[in-house]
Amino acid sequence: MPSAVGVVTFPGSLDDRDVMQAVSLAGGTAVPLWHGDSDLRGVDAIVLPGGFSYGDYLRCGAIARFAPVMVEVVAAAGRGMPVLGICNGFQVLCESHLLPGALLRNAGLHYVCRDQALRVESTATAWTTGLEPGARIVAPVKHGEGRYTADTETLDRLEGEGRVVVRYVEGNPNGSLRDIAGITNEAGNVVGLMPHPEHACDPLVGASADGLALFASVLTAVVGAA
């Protein structure tokens, strides 16, 4: 039986079905999870997808963080379950303190949707073992609040511990400090990314096929762990 990847739907989640399709393309089983349920339905890994949870009116991810399902997600992350937050999901992970720092309004003040070149900085996370260290990959960014910010000490620690997962290259779309596009926690099971790997799985409808490796990585990771 293929490994089960849960995809959480908050009110206002948008890329939830897109992530489920990407999980299936990678050979996994996608399981929908509902924000209001305190039940992870036996999944092996979790994705918090992109979108505008609760409209993102207050601060991106600020309200979603308090959804009942997040109590379970935080606990599972603590037990080492792979968790990936994409875009709004990354914002939720920061708001939940599963990842350090915060994502602020883009420096250019506009929402930005573009195909973005990235450099793979760490392949030591549950979600990136299938990528080549140092590789240039392309995935879309599409957000208005993706400027990664943390204090200098935190940034230095992230760099020092190899926890910057991907970095923007050939132009920084949002003014993120140190061109950071994605980070991981100390254990390497929780990853937050502003770019959208689920929109980089099939060149017909995405920016490239480079993102499929992230979903393949986690399927390998959970099979290996089982």
């Binding site: 609760y54 409209g55 009116y57 207050l58 309200i63 308090f66 959804a67 009942p68």
Partner: protein, 78 residues
């Protein structure tokens, strides 16, 4: 100098509504209404005199707020 900009009372405030809607799941009770607006802190060169006040009032009514949907309030602070 502080300028607070709020949607006019008869206009829908989706942001305030979203916050109000989230309170029960946070276990917060006893709050009847929340409205969200913008808050600007403006430092003026030189004296904060009548003239400067007039300029900030103009700015508030043109750039900071759209009087069609928003009200603003000025306050001297600090």
């Amino acid at each position: 100098m502080v300028v607070d900009v709020m949607l006019k009372p008869e206009i829908l405030d989706p942001q305030g509504q979203a916050i109000l809607g989230a309170l029960p799941s946070l276990g917060v009770s006893g709050i009847a209404a929340v409205r969200q607006g913008k808050h600007f802190e403006i430092d003026v060169d030189g004296e904060m005199d009548e003239d400067a006040l007039g300029r900030i009032r103009d700015l508030a009514g043109t750039l900071l707020a759209n009087p069609v949907i928003e009200d603003f309030a000025l306050r001297v602070e600090g």
